[in-house]
Amino acid sequence: MARPRTRALIAAAALAALPLSACSAGSLGSSSEEGVTAITLLVGNAEENVLAAEAVAEAFEAENTDVDVTVETRPGGTEGDNLIKTRLATGDMPEVFVYNSGSLLQALNPQQQLVDLSDQEWVGNVDQAFLDAAGGEDGTYGAPFGAVQAGAVLYNKAVYEELGLEVPRTWDEFLANSRAARDSGRAGIIQTYGETWTSQLFVLGDFHNVLAAEPDFPERYTANQVGYATSPAALRGFEHQQEAFEEGLFNENFPSALYPDGLALLAEGEGVHFPILTGVVSELAQSFPDAIDDIGVFGLPGDDAATNGITVWTPDAAYIPATTEGAELDAAKRLVAFIASPAGCDAQSEGSLPTGPYPVQGCELPEETPAAADDIQVYLDEERATPALEFLSPVKGPNLENLTVEVGSGIRPADDAARLYDEDVAKQAQQLGLEGW
């Protein structure tokens, strides 16, 4: 059986065989130097997260020479949720980790699992909306990592100009524009079900319209008094997706396309609308620097032009697990404070392009922001933006992405999917021990 020592020996032997440049600190277990505290920052493995985290780690180390930060990545999506839960439950969480705020945070049992940061100085500089999503009445658990993004439609302005289209303010106008795009030989709406999470935007991004129609939806939803199948306004998102499929507006390869494929279609003007989280603009800027000025954003339109607006996602947050102690805890708190400071925002912007503002006072966006970011800013300035449901209610089911793939592929009708999603949600609510379920 391999004892740790044997293992270390083999590892050392193998390492010696590598060129010296390979042994950056922490690549094979942590080598602890005198007086230096080593901590690890765990982030999702999407390109924009990793680059931002690495930039933050570097900037932080430059200011704090007694701390060594290693960036570790984890898968995203449900896989990531699972990993975070097991690592927390088994006391195996790195000193600082980045994870969603909102309902996914509530599923982590934060009161027991995370360090309460409400006594930290930076808390006063952070927007209240974020603090609500990254904690609750009994504490604040995370500092904002990343910028606000929208769950909205990315569209190709150049094609809009060529076809003489205008930004739609109702669902019918949106459909008409998509048909015009389709009739010009392009994909009206880009869908990429090769990565299932991308299929949820018709539903999740429609929440601004749901709330406009039913202002008490989140409270009643949390209390199990209303669901997606029983609220006509909420059901619309599923119905929209079904309509879009039935009209044949999607790109031909939507069943197997990956979202980078979708970005390529959009950037090259072969597709016109792409409902997605706008954080992907950062990747778009990297892969298609020439097209970035042609890409704009508008919120998924509802039935009423008067209440037109956009659904926004509160940034992820950096948390410290309760298992972090001593010098590591101190270093972790300093790192989190740095993330929530203007210097931390600048470092993140350097790593990856933000598409929305940081919820921290004093944080400036870089001089040159993509056109998409300016579009989102207009909604925010005009106060036509609503946080997504997951930031207003702890209830969220794990199977939505599979259901929306089915609706968008014509496998299952909208009302059926909405009913199944309500059942899916019930399991999560019961697991959380919420009242009324």
Partner: protein
Amino acid sequence: MKALYRWGGGALAIVVTGVVFIVPFVFILLTAMKTRAEANRLEFSWPTEMAVVQNFVEVLETRNYILVIAFINSTILTVASVAGMVVLAAMVAFVLQRRPSRWNPFVNFLVLSGLIIPPAVVPTIWVLQAIGLFRTMPGLILVQIAFGLSFSILLFRAFIATIPREVDEAAVIDGAGPLRLFFTVVLPLLKPVVVTVVVVQAVNVFNDFVTPLYFLPGERNATVQLTLYNFQSQFTTQYNLLFMNILLITIPMLLLYVFFNRQIVGGMTSGAVKG
């Protein structure tokens, strides 16, 4: 007629198996040699520009040489678990075959249930955590041994039945205790089936990605299959690197097979077949 079957059948088989079995391998190889742009076209074609060295270096360098660490981890895991399975399973099979007792039906039942029952993952995590072995290499090795025991015992038991008891008797008369009898007399005689068990279980353990995914999370603990799993989400549009990774992590098992090719059937002949 016979010659026609011999050569014609052979040639036909070579063509058919070539299309069915070789083409996917060649596809992996070709894609691993291409540049990113060309690989993403997913075509079955000779690369116009050789990028095999760049791809190799880039895959190794990804995430701080994680693949190298993974190879070390996978090697330790495979060697230790397979060695454990061979020794423990052969001991059980030896006594089980040689000594009929009231325990036998019970032991046989356990062996069969080990084959049939899907492992209860979360409770196993719970147990491992209670004994302090969760997310440790020894913990994962023991889990792999536990999961692989049943099949190994079946192979060993059938083979031991073919070894005459006279061999044991002679050794006992020479004064050998049970340990010496087993390790110096019986185990060496099991060599053919040991080879079979080693190859089959090494392939299983080395290629397993679910068990490490559950029981040894954490980037520093990655096994080669987990790197492939993670690269899949990271390299969504870099098929050249993805397939280079597949290629690299397939080579060790191909080599193992090439070395032991002839012996594998030998162990099976007496093992699994007589059940």
